[in-house]
C-alpha cells in the first residue's frame, strides 16, 4: 500500500468534508470558497511534488500514478479553483446550500482526478459516477424550471449512458476475463486475428465503450443533452461541465484506448476511423447548429460539441499512429489545456456580464464594449481563441492537433476541420460584433467583483501565454503523453 501516492485525492476529500462541516458554523459563506480554493491548492501542491517521478501503481494496479494522470489532475484542480472563484458572486445569491455547492464542486473534481488515474474498468465506472452524480445535483442547483429540467435530462440521459458503458465493460470483461487495462491488453494481443474477428461481442463492447464515453465528451450522436443542460445549469457549472467534465472524458478515453486497445495496429486503426467519423459529424453538426443560436450559453454548448470534434481529430490521429508515437496523445492534452483557459474565460466573462444585465441573450450584450471595455476585450480574446486564431491558445492548439493528424495521413480530416473553423468564426464573431458595434442599452457601467476579475485575468493570461510561448506546456504535454503506467 503506497498511501502517500494517494495524498492529493485524500487531501481534497478532507477539504470537501471540511467545507460541509464548516458550513454548519460559519455565517460568512464566502469563507467556504476560500477553504475550497486552499484545499485545491494544497492538493495541487502534492500532485506537483510527484511530477517527473517514475510511473507507479497503487491498490493492486487499480490506480496509476504517472505523469499522464498528474497532468490531468493539475488541470482539474486548476479548473475547479477558477470555477469556485467564478462562483463566489453567483452563489452568494442563494439563500441556502452554499456549503453543499462548494463541496460538490470539490467532490466532482475528486471524481475527475480518479478518472484520470484509474486503470481498471470497475474503478473507472465508480470514478465516473462520483463525478456525474455531483454534477447532476449541481446542474439542478438553481431549482427553477429550466435548471430542474436540465438536471433531470442530464440525469436520465447520463443514466442511460452509464448503462451502455457498463454493458460495454461487461462484454469486454466477458471476452477477456480481465478488468485491469494492462491485463486486457495482454489478452487481446495474445488472441489471434481470427480469434478477435470470431468474437464480435468484444468489438461490440469496444463500440459501446465509445458510446458511453462519447456521452461525457459530448460527441455526436450522444450530444442531445448539451444545449439544454448548458442553458439551464448555473453558469459556473456550465463552465465546469464544458471544460473539466469533457477533459475527464478524454483522459479516460485516452487511457482505455491507448492501454487496452492500442495494439494490435489494425484494431487501433479501426477505432481511429470511428473517431475520425465522429469528429467530422461532431464538428460539422456543432458548428452549423451554433449558427442560429440567440442564447450565448446554448451557443457555447453547441460550440463545445464542435470543439469535442476537433479533439477527436486528435484521437483519430492517435488511432492511426503506432503506439510508440506520443504526438497524437500530447496534442490532445495541449488542446485541452488551451481550450480550458479559453472556454473558462468566456464563461467567466459571461457570468460577470449577466450579473448585471440578467440575461444570456446575445443581443442584450449590445454595446458591452462601451459599458465594460475590459470584460468585452477579455471575452473577445477568449472567443478568438475558440475560433482558433493567433495569438491565442486556440490557434496553437489547433495547429498542434492538426499537425499530428496530417503526419498520420489524415489530411482530408484536417481540411474538413479547418473549413469548420471558418464556419465557426461566423457565430463567435457575431458576439464580438454585438459587443463592439451595437448601441448600449444603457449608459450604466458593468462592474465586476474582485474574484471574477482575478479568475478572468488568470484565464486570459493563460490564453495568451499558451498562444505566444506554448513551448513549455507542449513539453509538459509531451512528457505526460509518454509516461503511461498502463
Amino acid at each position: 500500500m503506497n498511501l502517500e501516492l494517494f495524498i492529493p485525492e485524500l487531501s481534497l476529500l478532507a477539504c470537501a468534508i471540511a467545507v460541509i462541516l464548516l458550513d454548519l458554523f460559519i455565517q460568512r459563506k464566502g469563507l467556504l470558497a476560500v477553504v475550497g480554493i486552499a484545499g485545491l491548492v494544497v492538493s495541487a501542491g502534492f500532485t506537483l511534488a510527484m511530477w517527473g517521478g517514475s510511473s507507479q501503481a497503487i491498490f493492486n494496479n487499480m490506480l496509476a500514478v504517472d505523469n499522464f494522470a498528474l497532468f490531468f489532475k493539475l488541470l482539474f484542480l486548476g479548473i475547479a479553483a477558477l470555477v469556485i472563484l467564478a462562483s463566489v458572486d453567483y452563489v452568494s445569491k442563494f439563500t441556502r446550500f452554499q456549503g453543499e455547492y462548494y463541496a460538490l464542486v470539490l467532490l466532482a473534481a475528486l471524481g475527475m482526478m480518479l478518472m484520470a488515474a484509474t486503470a481498471e474498468l470497475i474503478s473507472i465506472y465508480i470514478a465516473l459516477e462520483l463525478t456525474s452524480i455531483s454534477l447532476y445535483v449541481l446542474v439542478g442547483f438553481l431549482k427553477d424550471q429550466k435548471s430542474s429540467e436540465a438536471s433531470l435530462k442530464y440525469l436520465l440521459l447520463g443514466a442511460i449512458a452509464s448503462a451502455v458503458l457498463l454493458y460495454g465493460m461487461a462484454l469486454v470483461f466477458g471476452f477477456t476475463g480481465k478488468t485491469q487495462l494492462g491485463e486486457i491488453a495482454q489478452v487481446i494481443q495474445a488472441m489471434s486475428l481470427s480469434g478477435i474477428l470470431s468474437s464480435p461481442g468484444l468489438i461490440l463492447g469496444i463500440v459501446l465503450l465509445i458510446a458511453g464515453f462519447g456521452f461525457k465528451i459530448a460527441a455526436v450522436p450522444f450530444q442531445m443533452w448539451v444545449p439544454d443542460v448548458y442553458e439551464g445549469a448555473p453558469t459556473p457549472i456550465t463552465a465546469y461541465l464544458s471544460v473539466a467534465s469533457k477533459a475527464a472524458g478524454f483522459a479516460i478515453i485516452l487511457r482505455v484506448f491507448y492501454s487496452a486497445f492500442g495494439l494490435p495496429q489494425w484494431l487501433s486503426l479501426d477505432w481511429g476511423l470511428i473517431f475520425a467519423v465522429l469528429a467530422v459529424i461532431g464538428m460539422t453538426l456543432g458548428n452549423i447548429a451554433a449558427l442560429p443560436q440567440t442564447n450565448i450559453k446554448r451557443m457555447l454548448g453547441y460550440s463545445s460539441i464542435a470543439q469535442a470534434g476537433y479533439l477527436m481529430v486528435g484521437l483519430a490521429a492517435m488511432g492511426a499512429s503506432p503506439a510508440t508515437d506520443a504526438l497524437g496523445r500530447s496534442t490532445i492534452l495541449f488542446f485541452l489545456a488551451g481550450y480550458a483557459f479559453a472556454n473558462l474565460g468566456a464563461f467567466i466573462a459571461i457570468i460577470a456580464i449577466s450579473n448585471k444585465v440578467n440575461s444570456d441573450i446575445i443581443n442584450d450584450y449590445s454595446g458591452m464594449g462601451k459599458r465594460a471595455p475590459l470584460l468585452a476585450l477579455a471575452l473577445t480574446l477568449c472567443l478568438i481563441s475558440l475560433i482558433g486564431m493567433p495569438p491565442a491558445a486556440g490557434f496553437m492548439a489547433k495547429f498542434y492537433i492538426f499537425s499530428g493528424a496530417v503526419q498520420h495521413g489524415l489530411l482530408w480530416l484536417v481540411v474538413i476541420a479547418v473549413i469548420n473553423s471558418v464556419i465557426s468564426a461566423y457565430y463567435y464573431l457575431r458576439v464580438v460584433k454585438v459587443m463592439w458595434l451595437g448601441e448600449p442599452a444603457s449608459e450604466e457601467k458593468v462592474l465586476s467583483s474582485g474574484a471574477l476579475r482575478i479568475a478572468l485575468s488568470i484565464s486570459c493570461l493563460g490564453v495568451l501565454l499558451l498562444g505566444v510561448i506554448p513551448g513549455f506546456v507542449m513539453k509538459l504535454a509531451e512528457l505526460a503523453a509518454k509516461m503511461f503506467k498502463f
Binding site: S330, G369, I384, I387, M389, P390, P391, F395, M396, F399, Y400, F402, S403, V406, Q407, G409, L411, V414, V415, V418, I419, S421, V422, A425, Y426, L429, K433, W436, L437, I469, P470, G471, M474, K475, E478
Partner: protein, 496 residues
Amino acid sequence: MSFNYLSTIIFLPVAGAILIAFIPGLSDRVIKRIAAIFTLIPLGLALFLFCNFDSSLGAGIIQFEEKLLWIPAINAYYHLGVDGLSLPLIVLTAFLGFMVVLISWKINLRVREYFAWLLLLETSILGVFCSLDLLLFFIFWEIEVIPMYFLISIWGTGRKEYSAIKYVIYTLFGSAMMLAGIISLYFTTGSLSMVEIAQTGIASFTAVIPVVAIFFLLLIGFAVKLPVVPLHTWLPDAHTDAPTAGSVMLAGALIKMGGYGMIRICVSIFPETAKAYAPILLTLAVISVLYGAALTLRQTDLKRLIAYSSVSHMGFVLLGVFALGQVSLTGAALQMVSHGVITGLLFAMAGLVIHNVEERDLKKLGGLARQMPVIAIVFSIAGLGALGLPTTSGFAAEFLVFVGSFSSTVVSGIQVYTILAVLGVVLAAGYILWMLQRTFYGPVLEQYNGVKDANTMEKVYMFAFVALIMLIGIYPAILTDIIKLGISPIVGLLGG
C-alpha cells in the same frame, strides 16, 4: 547584430497600441500624437535598414537576422530577416503605416480603439514581411484579420458589417487552406524555415501528400489575398466600405502579402510545380487583368472604381510572378511597391473628396478642379501613375513586368499572355481618365462652391506620396537593384 532592428520595427506599433488602449484618460489629441510617434520611428528604422542594406554581400543573403528557438516541440523558430524581396515591402508598409495615421487625423469617433486597431494592423503586416519561419509568418498573417474587421465594421460606410464579415470569412477560408498546406509542408520537410526548405529543395523529400496539393493549398491562401479572379469578390466590398485609412492599408500593404507569399513560398519552395502549372495561373492573371478592368469601367462609385482597378493591377503582379523570369519577378515585386504607393494615394484622395464634398457618386460629381485644385492635381498625378504614365512608378513597374514576361524563357507561350495583359493598360487609361474627368473636370457645379481644399497636414502627406511615386518612376534602380538580390536566387532555382 547587437540591436534587434526588425523586432523593434514590428513591435513598436503594437506597443503604441497597448499604451493607447490601456492608459486611461488620454485625450484624442494625445492619442493621435502617440500613434504618430509609434509609427514614425518604425518608418525611420525601416529607412535606416534600407540605407544600410549591404548589397555587396551578394544575392540571397538574409540580413538583420534574428533567430531564437521558440517552440521546440515543433521545431519552430522566432526567425526574422530581410532580403531584397522583403525590404522594399517593409519600407512601404512602414511608410503607409505612418501616412494612415496622418490621413486619420480627422477621425473623431471612438478614437482610442481606432488607433489601437490601426497600429496592431501595421504590426501584423510588418511581421508577415519579416518572418522567415512559416508558423510565425502564418500567425502574423492571421492577426491582421481582427483589426481589419473592426476598422471596417465600426468606422466604415455603407454596408460595412456585411463587407467586414465577408472579408473575414474569405480571409479565414484562404488561411485555413494555407494552414493545411503549411502543416503538410512541415511534415514533408521536418522544418518550418522558409529559407532552409527552399535551399534543400522540396524534391529531395518524400511528401506526405502530393507536392502539387501542398502547392495549391498554399496558393489558395495567397490568391484570396492578392486577389485572383474568381476569389476577388471580397475586395470591392471591403475596400469600398472601409474607412479611408483602412482602404489605404488594405490596398497599399495588405494585399501585397498575397503576392509576397506567392514569390517567397509558392515559387521558391515549389519551383518545378510552379513551372508546370504556370499556364493555368497565367490564364487567371490575364482574366484578372481584363475582367477586373472591364468591371472597373462600369463603376460609378468613386471608391469602388479604385477598388476594382486593384483587381486588374494585381493581375499584373500574378503575370509577372508566374512568367517566372528574372526581370518579370523583379517587375512584379516593383509593381507591388508601386501599386501600394499609387493606390494608397488614390484612396487617400478619394477619401478626402468624399469627406469634403460628401458625395461619392461619379454621376453627381464634376468640375471640382476649380473648387479643390490641390486635391485635383494630386489625384490626377496618382491617376496617371495608375495608368502607367512614364516618370511615375507605375510606368517603371508595369514596363518591367511586360518586358520581363514577354522575354521570359521559362514558360512557353508567355508572349500571348503578355500581349493580352497589355490590353489592361489601355483599359486602365479609359477608366482612370473617365474617373478624373467626371470628378474634377467638366462644368463647375454650383452646389460644391463651398467645399474645402486640402489643409496643411494633408498637403504634407500628399507631397510625400507624390515624391515617392516620382522618385521610383524616375530612378527605379533604387528599388530594382535591391529587389534583384532577393529575386536572383529564386530564378536560380527555376533554372531559367
